[in-house]
Symmetry: C2
Subunit: 211 residues, 2 copies
DNA sequence: GATAAAATTAAACAAACGTTTAATTAACTT
DNA sequence: AAGTTAATTAAACGTTTGTTTAATTTTATC
């Protein structure tokens, strides 16, 4: 178990997460982070060792949440495979929109593979995720609900890709639909609902229709 | 019309594009770029004015290609709306996979909005793209082929999101399906085909099924 | 082949970077 | 209350950053 963090450590992590998501890892200086958190610059090295390790700490704290929720859902025997799949989709939508900053960083970091420790974390996450979905799909196939030969990474690509790109495209989406005057929380609720319906349509088509 | 570029200018742009896509804009130094191109560092300022303007030049040269292909396709009266939509999907797949480096940069740059000139270019691209798809969808609706109330940015999110995330996830996808031994060109041909079939299934479902 | 313009170079520039240091303050322990 | 550890600070460290300079070479023009 990881040692729990002090208030100042958490402040630094939160400020760093926000800034990394806005300006990128290399575009954010340790002075930026410290200033945003109202803490002396030297404290970053003192607490985390380095800027890189601070980034790793962000990943370690945030990346497990989604997987744990998914695995809890999959264990629920009262749900049929379709309900589980739709539930999984909703967990992704919730988690991505709740942790916008982190998922934007994650997206950038997957493109710019520089930190080996983070590459490894992401790889593990993807593998465990694929294993979970694989298990769920085989269950659905055994029950005759899902079609054969489903390409799992492709299925996940569309889920993660659609939700991720919505995260990138939120402002444009808002403008296109003239929703600028909406309160943030209302806008997000609508987005979540739309994404959910949209992805259910897609998943139903992919899981059932023979091509 | 933009003045055509010298060989050395093109070399710098190409090296910069590759490095930006691998290490990010802020993670790449002008010395990195110049060294990769085998050209003196000072030439970047001499030719382009600054590192930022070099980046803008990359965007100006690469971003129009896709839109022009789409618009040519939409003008073709021998195709019905479904054929046009499927054609559009294939243009995206082709363009993204042919210009991997650029689209990885584009993805990062949409998250890390720092350069106002690039923000504007991307915004224009998205708007023109939405207008094109809007026109196509209204045509399909008028002919009674597409359902009503199609959310165009959502539709595009899934297209761009799925293809973009495949770009990010290529290596994992390869590993998952044990395709490491395949030649690059063979692997890409398979990926393109799979993406095409996958997205057609999705688009058919979204464009026709009433929810 | 002389002259002017363009291209190329190595060196220097100030600014910003992540990190370390040494001194000081705050918080505990006994 | 004295002694010990932890937290915090401003300053300095050596690099690296993007850009500019001034000198030199190459190319083009007449």
């Amino acid at each position: 178990m990881k040692p729990s963090l002090s208030i100042k450590q958490t402040q630094l992590l939160d400020s760093a997460e926000l800034l990394f998501s806005q300006k990128g890892f290399d575009g954010t200086s340790v002075r930026d982070i410290a200033e945003a958190a109202g803490i002396n610059t030297a404290m970053i090295s003192y607490y985390f060792g380095s800027k890189e390790k601070l980034m790793e700490e962000i990943f370690e704290r945030k990346s497990l949440n989604l997987l744990e929720n998914v695995e809890k859902l999959l264990k629920d025997d009262s749900l049929d495979p379709f309900q589980k799949m739709y539930g999984l989709v909703d967990i992704y939508i919730d988690n991505f929109l709740k942790r916008k900053a982190f998922h934007r960083i994650l997206l950038c970091e997957q493109i710019i593979n520089q930190n080996p420790s983070i590459i490894q974390m992401v790889e593990k996450m993807k593998t465990r995720n694929s294993e979970n979905i694989n298990e769920l799909i085989r269950l659905g196939q055994k029950k005759g609900l899902f079609k054969k030969n489903i390409d799992i990474p492709m299925l996940t690509n569309t889920l993660v890709g659609t939700v991720s790109y919505m995260l990138i495209n939120l402002e444009f989406y808002k403008k296109y639909h003239h929703m600028e005057t909406l309160k943030d929380e209302d806008f997000e609720r609508i987005i979540k609902k739309k994404l959910s319906v949209h992805l259910r349509t897609i998943y139903k088509a992919i899981l059932t229709h023979e091509s």
